[in-house]
Amino acid sequence: MKHELTPAQIAYLFSFCRKHFIPYYDLQIELVAHLAHAIEHLMGEQPQLEFEETLAAVYREFGATGFR
């Protein structure tokens, strides 16, 4: 089942990028789109998952240095 993130969750992802030292808006757009897709995919497959824990799991895929 397709899970779609809410506008508030998308806004949270933008603030997540800023908190992780991504100041450039075009880069934020790209990373938010990536995170949102991956989160929606996982939450669609496993509806019991919470948004924030799924975000943490997806962010781990970026490796030990995160967005850096």
Partner: protein
């Protein structure tokens, strides 16, 4: 005695995990140099794509054998955009913006050159791997 068996089982498991890790690492290292031609070819075939779509497409085509990591893909996309091989445009998609990449005219030429280079590389590797001892 029982304890020692436990330890040997554990060390066997550790060695097995290490071997799998090394094999994956080596395979990934082999793929690393091929990332640019793969990306250019995908963009040539699909006209325009966004980052997540590229990672999923590669996973789908190679049935999971090749996974492009985010840490490798985005720096490459940005470098190619800086070299004017790719151009990008941002569009709204549902409740969020999305950045699409496509090949420029320079990118079309780079795709042909990169595909030839990769194809030559594969031929050379086959020469080494398939040559039988006289």
């Amino acid at each position: 005695m029982k304890k020692s068996n436990g330890y040997s089982c554990l060390s066997f498991l550790c060695i097995k995990i290490l071997i799998v890790f090394v094999i994956n690492m080596k395979t990934n290292a082999l793929y690393k140099g091929c990332l640019e031609p793969i990306l250019l070819k995908l963009l040539k075939e699909n006209t325009r794509m966004y980052g997540y779509e590229i990672t999923q497409k590669v996973k789908e085509i190679t049935t999971g054998s090749l996974v492009i990591t985010e840490g490798a893909l985005y720096p490459l996309l940005h470098r190619l955009e800086g070299e004017e091989i790719l151009s990008s445009e941002i569009e709204m998609n549902g409740n969020r913006p999305r950045k699409y990449y496509s090949l420029t005219a320079k990118g079309d030429l780079a795709e042909v050159a990169a595909t030839h280079s990769l194809s030559d590389f594969i031929k050379t590797m086959n020469l080494i791997l398939l040559t039988k001892k006289a």
